[in-house]
Symmetry: C2
Subunit: 319 residues, 2 copies
Amino acid sequence: MKKLLGIDLGGTTVKFAILTEAGDILKKWTIQTNVEQEGQHIVPDIIQSIKECLQQEDLTAEDFVGIGMGSPGSVDIHNGTVIGAYNLNWRTLQPVKAQIEQATGIPCYVDNDANVAALGEQWQGAGDGSANVVFITLGTGVGGGIVSEGKLIHGVGAAGEIGHMNVDPNGYLCTCGNVGCLETVASATGIVRLAQDMAQTYKESSSLHTWITNGQEVTAKLIFDKAKEGDLFAQTIVDKFSFYLGYSCGNIANILHPETIVIGGGVSAAGDILLQGVQKYFEKAAFLQVRETTKLKLAQLGNDAGVIGAASLVHQFTI
Amino acid sequence: MKKLLGIDLGGTTVKFAILTEAGDILKKWTIQTNVEQEGQHIVPDIIQSIKECLQQEDLTAEDFVGIGMGSPGSVDIHNGTVIGAYNLNWRTLQPVKAQIEQATGIPCYVDNDANVAALGEQWQGAGDGSANVVFITLGTGVGGGIVSEGKLIHGVGAAGEIGHMNVDPNGYLCTCGNVGCLETVASATGIVRLAQDMAQTYKESSSLHTWITNGQEVTAKLIFDKAKEGDLFAQTIVDKFSFYLGYSCGNIANILHPETIVIGGGVSAAGDILLQGVQKYFEKAAFLQVRETTKLKLAQLGNDAGVIGAASLVHQFTI
């Protein structure tokens, strides 16, 4: 049986995995991402690491259906090129697919990291193989990927910009230049912004409120932890965050009617308290038939979503 | 060259058209919809009309690739059945595809009317054949259909419920049971509701305001006509309507990144004033890359969207 090779390219590390076509991980490894000299070492390092692994494992190009890669930046999926990946120092167009194919003799496919993570969760994670899955990742920013009838949706190219859905026309200024994007309130920094803003007017006793007004550092984790401990101010913040994210999930579901909306990324580590809050507002926004059938779930693959989804990307192009 | 037969089934009439595979209409005709006796005459009437036409035109089943039909109600596209089409008096499951195929010997495909109209505009109308088009129809309600990479999106079944996107968590109660759906403010009745509500607090001189406070009948057309004439109250209403619809279009585009969002249905007859208003708020909600590439357009096919899209449905299943 042939194999898949998944690559999750990030600003700090490059993660690799060899998988069976059924999605079982046979081998995983990681190398450091060398972003020096405009990131010119990145693709050669990846190629060398693949070659070394194939040699060690006594594998050849013929053992693989293909290589899939998730990359930061703006990806041209048809040409397999990447541009504007600033955490890799890739400012100019990088012909990633062509370089890897030429060096390895294995067909290579590239998509952006959020899409690839969406595929991973859809295939082997919380999506449980369903054909219709939306993935939302809550990290430094808010990203997303959409799988519809088994295929990633790209539209003209930038589909899945869930973090830039507008949730408040009078809201906070976003890094994208618009006002009131979901990312401004539902990312790791967004919920901290909400907390600091809401602290201005909160009048009751709260250990989190005291912490903030004393100028101590606040994190998304602290806010959720305090909410779990019963701090009312923290619970008010989580409720506001849940309102924005829940209504967004409802609207996404009204448009796409997915079987599952998977919530991942660092902030989702808060767990059930996050899921329950989002579910409450999702139900207010989702159309009856949608509310009864679309499930909200936490992501299950953690850091492996990238390599598993990257491997699955091969199937997007070959099945 | 083989032909396509499109059927647009409505509560008052059934529209038929024979098209070339390239989308040119060769012949159009209409029959009345007989909804008596639980709509049991509808499918037999359709079959008889097809048979008569084929005889007149000296055509046989072999001349057709297939028959496509748009229907009200809830459509099971895999089985070609319809249920809950209340304006047809179809309360129980109707095996439309099986009945038409058996009687005509031509493969038949069924989808809901909004999806089929979306296909029509995507193929031969404002979508101009682009692979990624969203269609929003503003009529008694607000409906929609999504074409992504050339294919209609169904999700679990009810994708495209654009009229039930939430635009105001504190808004009007919708017939669906939720509060603040787009349909409550952007349908023909929705904009009248906005007008009547806003008339309560409007203080300036306005002929539309006087009309409303005198208890005279208001329509969407009157509001847009008055706005075009320069009535400031009417313009305020149109601006509020545009705000809701424009932000919704922006959010849809952030999720799907379509090449075109086509706005049709009776309310869209207002024309450029509607399009310009929606564009203004769309630009505030759409992510930069989306704003620069997704176009808003008025529908172009009018009542023909249904039969043309129905014919195109055949290609959804056969290409």
